[in-house]
């Protein structure tokens, strides 16, 4: 059974259909990525999953049962836009966020102390949030998200706005929680990041799910005519070549799709003949970005070219 299942969710605001018949599931023990452009409907979907918005239609089930407020107690949510009560002190803030999740008492206090020590904020317990640096405020925000020991972690664009030190810190926490068997759900527009962290994904575009499944399966499915190369030299001669279907330049790497699977070896040969120094050649490999572009079309690029 899937731990979380989303079935036919729809939500409109006035005439705009923000989420349109979205269905996907999150397998037990997975790191799940909800991927899409800004404004694709990720946050609205997440809000409906957490019962913040009521869907116009469809439902969300937790291990087969409809989600209730009980689910909220089991979730740690780090929204993209975060905030804390500026005039509250660190300790009261943590205790308040634990209390709304139904946790209080000695156990949670010990845990809070533990985290504060780990994040080197133990001495700032009585400081007001507004007196902390932005980086430290972010740390308090993480602690508040995970202090109640959530079963699920929902992170909306978790690394946006973080400094490098806090990025590493958060990554560490996420890996730690993953190893503890928690379900982690990411929402992000960074394909590269999702590719590294997630083992299941759902791609959403204009409110609709365009792809859903395990990362491995997706890569095999879409990667069979695709080659990822890193090289020095010029490959412009490939433009319009009969075996080439498309070329996507990502800066560091280039994704090339050939017309037939058997032509990948032919491609390597071509490159070597033209004195292109091939440093990496990954056949049957495709980046999530490539998949996304294939499925949704590169609308961002079009906009940029206008």
């Amino acid at each position: 059974m899937h731990v979380l299942e989303v079935k036919g969710l729809s939500k409109s605001f006035d005439k705009i259909k923000a989420v349109d018949d979205v269905s996907f599931f999150v397998p037990e023990g997975s790191v799940f990525g909800l991927i899409g452009r800004n404004g694709a409907g990720k946050t609205t979907t997440i809000r409906m999953m957490m019962n913040i918005y009521e869907p116009d239609s469809g439902k969300v089930t937790l291990r087969g049962a409809p989600v209730t407020n009980e689910f909220k107690q089991k979730v740690g949510y780090l929204p993209e836009e975060r905030g804390l009560y500026k005039k509250m002190n660190v300790w009261d803030t943590l205790m308040f966020f634990a209390r709304v999740k139904g946790k209080k008492g000695k156990e949670i206090e010990e845990k809070a102390n533990e985290y504060l020590k780990k994040f080197q904020l133990f001495t700032r317990k009585t400081s007001k949030i507004q007196d902390l640096s932005k980086g430290n405020q972010q740390k308090i925000q993480f602690i508040a998200t995970i202090l109640h020991d959530p079963e699920f972690l929902i992170l909306d664009e978790p690394f946006s706005g973080l400094d490098p030190i806090n990025t590493d810190l958060l990554r560490e926490i996420i890996i730690d929680l993953k190893n503890q068997g928690k379900v982690i759900i990411f929402s992000t527009h960074l394909m590269d990041f999702a590719e590294k962290m997630c083992d299941h994904i759902a791609m959403i575009d204009e409110g609709k799910i365009i792809l859903h499944g395990s990362l491995k399966e997706i890569k095999t499915k879409y990667g069979h005519r695709n080659v990822n190369i890193t090289y020095d030299g010029s490959i412009s001669f490939l433009n319009g070549h009969p075996i080439i279907e498309s070329i996507q330049d990502f800066g560091n790497t280039t994704g090339i799709t050939v017309k037939e699977e058997s032509q990948t070896q032919e491609l390597l040969q071509l490159l070597l003949e033209r004195d292109v120094k091939v440093r990496r050649f990954n056949a049957n490999d495709i980046s999530l970005h490539d998949v996304f572009v294939k499925l949704a079309g590169d609308k961002d690029m079009e906009v940029a070219n206008v």
Partner: protein, 421 residues
């Protein structure tokens, strides 16, 4: 509805509000401020009385001059030397010369003025006053009775009238007001009733505005700083709103109860030596009604303030969106304070029973006149009913508004939110 989540929100609100400097200072300072204003007013009134004046009274007949001289010598302000009055007997022609001679003195404020009482005044009581500022009503209030007395004496002098008749003619009408009430005995109305009526209206006005704005700002802050998104991942919008309103309303009630303490002490003990006409005529029961009524009103208005806070995502927009609610507080306040002339007017009667306005008008009215039990009951039912009606609507708008940011919504759109799921 009162689960641990709501309780956590209530607790946080209470802590934040009651421990805040603003709350403590306000609670202590407002009574001081109010008594200060009253004392200041009294001071101004007495200060005015004690100002000095220098006058010349001119008559056309020596008899009248003598009468005036002896009458004036007996009034306190002259005895105390605050008013220095000299008397002269001159005809109209010589008067002009006197005015010309004293002109500079009057312009320099060394002499307040010259009062001319022609002989004709003995029949028509018309006198003349020459001064730089001839419309000084305060001065006349003090001089008129004495001049009148001298004229009355002069008029009746030599006529066949007994001393009592003259005495009667001299007297001014003296009105004593008596307040009729159903169960109490007839009692004199007092300044205390008017003061307490004003105090009630003022406290309600001030507190609803102050606490309401505090509520609105706190909602805007939560929305603006995006805390609300995190909060809503733990609590429902309704729980959050109810928690905030209850927390804030309890804070308000506590503050109001503290402000009521001096009044309770005044009416239930004799620690303070207060002139009887200043002791307000209200009972502990009425104070309890006042506090209950305040609590219901506060919850109703806080619902509205929270809703407006949720519609807008910054203080400026919210300030401009709050005026319809301000009107609901301000208009009843003006009715309340202008009502003490006639607390039984149709306007006072009706507004003390209408939703919103009765929250302020009824308490202000109950200290002036006896309110029939059915009116109290109606006001309570109307207010509680309004509170119960407002809440679901406010909750709906709040729930939608609290997560919307960006464009300032139009009122039409807000109405549409009511139909959202």
């Amino acid at each position: 509805m009162f689960n641990f989540r709501t309780m956590a929100v209530i607790k946080r609100e209470l802590r934040e509000k009651i421990m805040s400097k603003t709350f403590i200072i306000m609670t202590l300072l407002l009574p001081v401020f109010m008594f200060g204003i009253m004392a200041f007013q009294t001071f101004l009134l007495t200060y005015d009385t004690e100002s000095n004046a220098k006058l010349i009274i001119v008559t056309e007949s020596p008899d009248l001059t003598m009468n005036l001289q002896s009458d004036f010598s007996q009034i306190p302000i002259v005895k105390q030397g605050k008013y220095i009055i000299t008397f002269q007997t001159l005809n109209r022609q010589r008067l002009q010369e006197l005015i010309a001679a004293k002109k500079q003195e009057m312009l320099d404020d060394k002499l307040n003025g010259i009062i001319f009482i022609p002989s004709a005044a003995l029949t028509d009581k018309k006198i003349e006053y020459y001064s730089k500022s001839p419309s000084n009503s305060d001065l006349f209030d003090k001089l008129k009775p004495t001049i009148n007395q001298a004229l009355v004496d002069g008029y009746f002098h030599g006529k066949q009238l007994s001393q009592e008749d003259i005495e009667y003619a001299r007297n001014r009408v003296d009105i004593n007001g008596f307040r009729i009430s159903k169960d109490n005995e007839i009692e004199e109305t007092n300044a205390g009733a008017r003061i307490i009526s004003f105090v009630f209206a003022f406290l309600l006005y001030f507190s609803l505005m102050f606490i309401g704005m505090m509520m609105m700002r706190s909602v805007v802050e939560e929305k603006n700083s995006k805390i609300v998104e995190i909060l809503l991942s733990s609590v429902e919008a309704k729980e959050l709103m109810v928690g905030k309103i209850i927390g804030t309303a309890v804070t308000g009630l506590l503050q109001m109860a503290i402000w009521m303490l001096p009044i309770i002490v005044v009416i239930s003990s004799s620690i303070f030596v207060i002139p009887p006409e200043l002791i307000p005529n209200i009972s502990i029961g009425q104070i309890i009604y006042f506090l209950f009524n305040y609590f219901v009103g506060l919850i109703t208005f806080l619902g509205l303030f929270a809703t407006v806070g949720a519609i807008f995502d910054n203080d400026q927009d919210a300030q401009s969106g709050i005026w319809p609610i301000m009107m609901l507080i301000m208009i009843p306040f003006f009715i309340s304070i202008s009502m003490n002339k006639n607390p039984n007017s149709v306007l006072a009667n009706v507004t003390s029973l209408l939703p919103f306005s009765s929250i302020m008008v009824m308490p202000a009215r109950m200290s002036l006149v006896d309110i029939p039990a059915w009116q109290f009951a109606t006001a309570i039912v109307v207010n509680v009913g309004m509170m119960l009606l407002i809440f679901p609507l406010a909750g709906k708008i709040y729930r939608i508004g609290i997560l919307l940011t960006g464009k300032k919504p139009k009122w039409g759109e807000v109405i549409k939110w009511l139909r959202y799921k």
